[in-house]
Symmetry: C2
Subunit: 339 residues, 2 copies
DNA sequence: TTGTACGCGTTATCAA
DNA sequence: TTGATAACGCGTACAA
């Protein structure tokens, strides 16, 4: 763990100037003999360029930050899995931030971009307050938001139509003959929560089904909270023949509670989730889920950011919005075949 | 996205020298009046210190790297979840590396530490070659290895006794009356693969059960590969009454195949996994699994690294080894109660 | 083709 | 208490 060699060390050893060393290492035209000596010295010393010095000079950190609520959520995980290789291929390192869905922390991350530790940021806000929107616009580095963001923010944006997603699932349930379709949601003050609540109402209306408060319950986007919400739902004693869940974790919780209650899935109650994570595919019965293209959204976001970082021309291009189409993945929890 | 203010900008605005600005910002004794002016200017300008300049000067990046095979594996994910907050609390950012279990990539990560982009590294190698061991010893920053590493490497080490883990599971199965206990493993040229293979033999011997090749199958540590391995196992036509799987993903694959084959779990065949991930708890039936304390290993590793980084004294302290005890978490896949 | 010298933004030393 | 100034390691005009 000795002191690291610098271009100065190499210069001495090779008997040339630091400028020559720098030139060789950056592939600038140099006399072959010099190149040889420098490379030999660098190799012997195990030289690795100091990233701080390089960043300071070049004004580039070769890092990209990714900020989401909680890396434990499989949706974000899928995104990381896609983002990471895209960045790596372009020579960027990935810095991870778990914000706990706390707006203040998200704002802090945006602010810290001013320190230039990262060249850009991919952000997934859960709650979109005015302060957050302001902070996004004021960010000192390119930001790509996954999720919807007002146009005024002026940043690139990868979104999906979760309204259409809910619609797809409800159409499917309706086609299967279900008419008492409950909805278990996450917090209404979150962007996805609000959107999915509205989508549920709209979809019911489009199908000519009545909106019944007894069929709606709000918890949080986690398994235990989802289970609790479903328990409350059942306690209200409505005749339910399907449960639409605002994400897969809630759907898993629903399976737990239904099993507990001795109800068969899908014979007695069909269950559908959203996000189409591994958990949905891995559950028993496998859960029908609306894919919101997490992997694709992650990849597209990384690509958008890289495009911004590529050159000055594209850095000033107008904001781009990419939409990923939701898709219904039908499994045994709605239509099957559980044995 | 304007040009970032520097201490120079602040100095001008406040009518003082850059030295004073630096002093104020670092909390060194300064005249109150100066402090006020500087802070006001800094605030108005939205000043954020440049991290590259700071790192260059202080020789600290305030970043820690974490390198594992694949962030998609729930075990590593659990570790990240624990590591992240510990680092954050200490003022470090987390840089993520997925190496794809490729030794060359791991060596590259170790080498790149010479660039000082991170102050330390937490590494989980899957295969421990001589080159890797050499690279670990030669690393230019503190490294903590999760998993076993030879003493010569001289680095801090968080390990678990997977041998004991296998033993716990086999004892449990034996106590339940199972005598034909199969073992489905991952690649034998990986550290965990080799250790668990040996552990299986030992545990059988300790229980007085014969080692039967027909009961052993090797695949990979993933669900699909695990399923394929179990399929091959069943094709050999041994009378199996329990399957010990080298990790939870394999166990999930086993459930898939057993269900396919019309075998009941645990009545016909009991299934146990390792790692005790969420997937094991979430499966149906819930899978008995040996917890290797992933979360705790992650946390301890982060703490060990922080201790090394804390001050020069501890930086030179002798290597520390922390052991996390495995624990058997019994669920319905071995003992239950599935209806 | 090569070397000298300066600047990137901070911190730290030394006089004043 | 403060300001001028020298590093930190690298890249790059500019001069030789």
């Amino acid at each position: 763990m000795g002191e690291g060699p610098t271009i100065g060390t190499i210069a001495e050893r090779a008997g040339v100037s630091t400028a020559s060393v720098s030139r060789v290492l950056n592939g600038l035209p140099t006399r072959p003999e010099t190149v040889r000596k420098v490379l030999a010295a660098a190799d012997e010393l195990g030289y690795v360029p100091n990233s701080a010095a390089r960043s300071l000079k070049s004004r580039r950190s070769h890092q990209v930050a990714f900020a989401m609520a909680d890396i434990g959520n499989p949706v974000y995980l899928e995104m990381v899995r896609e983002i990471q290789p895209v960045l790596k291929a372009a020579g960027y390192r990935l810095v991870l931030h778990s914000t706990g869905a706390d707006v203040a922390e998200e704002i802090e991350v945006l602010r810290s971009l001013g320190g230039r530790y990262a060249d850009g940021l991919i952000l997934i806000p859960l709650r979109l307050t005015a302060e957050l929107a302001a902070a996004i616009s004021a960010a000192r580095a390119p930001v790509v938001v996954i999720g919807s963001v007002p146009e005024e923010a002026g940043v690139d944006n990868v979104r999906t139509d979760s309204r259409l997603g809910v619609r797809l699932a409800l159409d499917h349930l309706y086609a299967l003959g279900r008419r008492r379709i409950a909805f278990v949601n996450g917090p209404l003050d979150t962007v996805p929560g609000a959107a999915r609540a509205a989508a549920y109402r709209d979809a019911l209306a489009a199908l000519g089904l009545p909106y019944d408060e007894k069929l709606v319950e709000v918890g949080d986007f986690y398994r235990a909270e989802g289970a609790a919400a479903v328990r409350r739902l059942l306690a209200k004693g409505p005749d339910v023949d399907a449960i639409m869940c605002a994400n897969d974790l809630i759907a898993l919780g629903a399976l737990d509670v239904l099993r507990e209650a001795g109800l068969r899935v899908p014979e007695d109650v069909a269950v559908a989730g959203m996000d189409d994570t591994d958990l949905a595919a891995g559950a028993w019965p496998p859960i029908t889920s609306v894919s919101l293209g997490s992997a694709e959204r992650g990849r597209r976001a990384a690509e958008l950011l890289l495009a911004r970082l590529a050159d000055d021309a594209s850095a000033k291009a107008p904001r781009k919005v990419v939409s990923v189409r939701p898709e219904l993945v039908i499994r045994a929890s709605t239509k099957g075949g559980t044995r």
